[in-house]
């Protein structure tokens, strides 16, 4: 198995207007041996382009891709020792499941007996034994994707590349195939790079997640670290569902304690007292400057009545009962936000509610750069 190292990787091309479009901009990333790395980001962030450059399907404009210590920029895809699973499966329609899986091995002129052994092993691993003689058109979406994975497995590659492999599946197959791929990673112990736009897939599957936006890497970290310590506003808003709530305002020191006042122009009525212990000294020194406070929906709690300095008054716009929990879509001034609460009690749109915050679970960001301001000491101990 292998380590994949990306250094200053850039992809640019001429757009329709002739202007130079930079799809991937000088990114650096190391995917460790046997690691499951997820590249996640919105459409057009460059994640698929990055994967395709690793695969050799896309020419590299600048920078290098190394697999197992060897720069592979000029190496043909077939000689990179990689296998790729495509979003639309890309099974050869005129070949049976067996032939689809054996095709790559035949091209490599492996002995027939070995091809047969590898195909049957992979088929057994993926529960495809009964389907080996079928054509792709006689398979369900989930089965087709398993065949596509099987076609990758038989090659025994150093690196597996997945390009949004679950996007075309229905919700149920998506969950089961997700689990299968994770189990497969455990079993094969292979290096896997997995592209998705779905942050739930990223969180549940990845050993580490690389969040991308506009051709650049926003943050690379373990799933919970990303969730608990987002490096910037983008990551904070992208990872987590429902998304993190943001309030514009500033910190103010008063009588030995700190208060967060919302920006009056937003009409939000937020005046929260924050214990000094929850704020790092650096953050305390930023008091008075404008900043963005982030609160995850699960760190908001419904209260029966207003408590000065502890609660936010808001209007309930909509309640979404999910069964195990209820999402309350709230608004204070012109700022919408969401709370994730226990599925008890009745919630009527238009009613006024009071929510308290876990003051030790707050995030602060620079409104200009979007960068996270240094976290509170408690956050750091939660690592």
């Amino acid at each position: 198995m292998a380590q994949v190292v990306i250094e200053n990787l850039t992809k640019s091309y001429s757009g329709k207007t002739g202007a130079n479009v930079v799809a991937v901009n000088r990114i650096n990333l190391t995917v460790n041996d046997r690691e499951f790395m997820v590249l996640v980001g919105p459409s057009g962030c460059g994640k698929s382009t990055t994967l395709r450059m690793i695969a050799g399907l896309e020419e590299i404009t600048a920078g290098t891709v190394s697999i197992d210590g060897r720069v592979v920029n000029d190496v043909l895809p077939k000689d990179r020792d990689i296998a790729m699973v495509f979003q639309n499966y890309a099974l050869y329609p005129h070949m049976s499941v067996y032939e689809n899986m054996a095709f790559g091995l035949k091209l490599r002129k492996l002995p027939k007996a070995e091809i047969d052994q590898r195909v049957r092993e992979a088929a057994a691993m993926l529960g495809l034994e009964e389907l080996l003689d079928r054509k792709p058109k006689a398979l369900s979406g989930g089965q087709r994707q398993r065949v596509a994975v099987g076609r990758a497995i038989v090659r025994k590659p150093k690196v597996f590349l997945f390009d949004e492999p679950l996007s075309n599946l229905d919700a149920k197959s998506r969950v089961s195939t997700r689990t299968e791929i994770s189990k497969l990673h455990e079993r094969l112990g292979a290096t896997m790079i997995y592209v998705t736009h779905d942050q739930v897939e990223a969180m549940t599957m990845g050993d580490r997640i690389c969040v991308m936006k506009d051709g650049q890497i926003m943050q690379v970290d373990e799933p919970l670290a990303l969730y608990n310590r987002p490096a910037n506003l983008f990551v904070a808003g992208f990872i987590g569902s429902p998304a993190m709530n943001f309030f514009h305002g500033s910190l103010r020191a008063q009588n030995g304690e700190f208060r967060f006042d919302s920006d009056k122009s937003t009409g939000a009525k937020i005046d929260l007292v924050l214990p000094r212990s929850t704020l790092s000294s650096n953050l305390q020194s930023d008091s008075g400057k404008p900043m963005v406070m982030g609160i995850r929906p699960e760190n908001l709690h419904l209260e029966k009545a207003a408590v000065a300095g502890k609660t936010i008054e808001a209007k309930l716009e909509l309640a979404e009962p999910m069964g195990a929990e209820t999402y309350l879509h709230l608004q204070t001034g012109s700022t919408p936000f969401t709370a994730r609460v226990a599925p008890t009690g009745r919630h009527e749109p238009g009613q006024t509610v009071y929510v308290s915050v876990d003051s030790d679970r707050l995030h602060f960001f620079d409104p200009t750069t979007g960068e996270a301001l240094r976290q509170s000491p408690i956050h750091r101990t939660n690592r």
Binding site: Y92, L107, R108
Partner: protein, 274 residues
Amino acid sequence: MKRLLPWVLSIAAALLFLAPLLWMLRASFSPETQIFQPGFAGGIFHGSWTLQNYADAWRRAALGSAMLNSLLQVAGIVSVGLLINTLAAYAFARLEFPGRELLFGVVVVLIILPVEVIAVPLFFTARDLGLTAGYGPAMAGLIAPFLAKAFNIYFLRQHFLTLPIELEEAAVIDGAGAWQQFWNVALPSIRPALATVVVLDLLTHWGDFLWPLMISTREETRTVQISLANLFTQPPIQWGAILACAVMATLPVLALFRWLQRYIVITDSRTGIK
């Protein structure tokens, strides 16, 4: 009744179109004197039957060698043409090279050019190349002008374009070179389109008249259509033999069409793709 009406109408329409063919078939088995008797068309099951017309036609039109020539001509055009046209179409669909769009525009323009327009210059070219002299050259002359066909290139290119590029990318990762991507993946994925091209070419070139008439100046290089036409002009004019010859000229193409029809099925090229 409502469900019956469309059936009745369809059968009536089919009979209307089949009537001349049925007449031709019946007349080909009738003695010469019986064909033009009044009321023959109404008495399809009456009168006497004979195979003499077929024997006469086979002998007078030298149908054995004519059929072989036509088969060779069509087989050559279809097989070699398929290879040339699919390669050109694939290049237009998938390869990037300077002037591609312009060249393809030229191909599209060529579609509207009928063979009659270029027949004369084509003939002189063929003659200068020595393709009118001798059996082998004449057969080559029958085939060569129709190998590269603008419509087929256009039609096949459109089908290659509908193939998801991921199929070939998967093949690249599997280790396929350019030829293997074309031969093992792209080509089999457009089989219905290939069958369509084969059938159209078969029908067109089995019925070719003008070009074979110009190029096959000797008896041994005549094709079926030329031999059939000769029966109209060489006395004595035997209508029974002419009709028998027409039936025999139709049979191979009907059989081939029936055989290839099953390949013209709903495209399955996208079934490996969501």
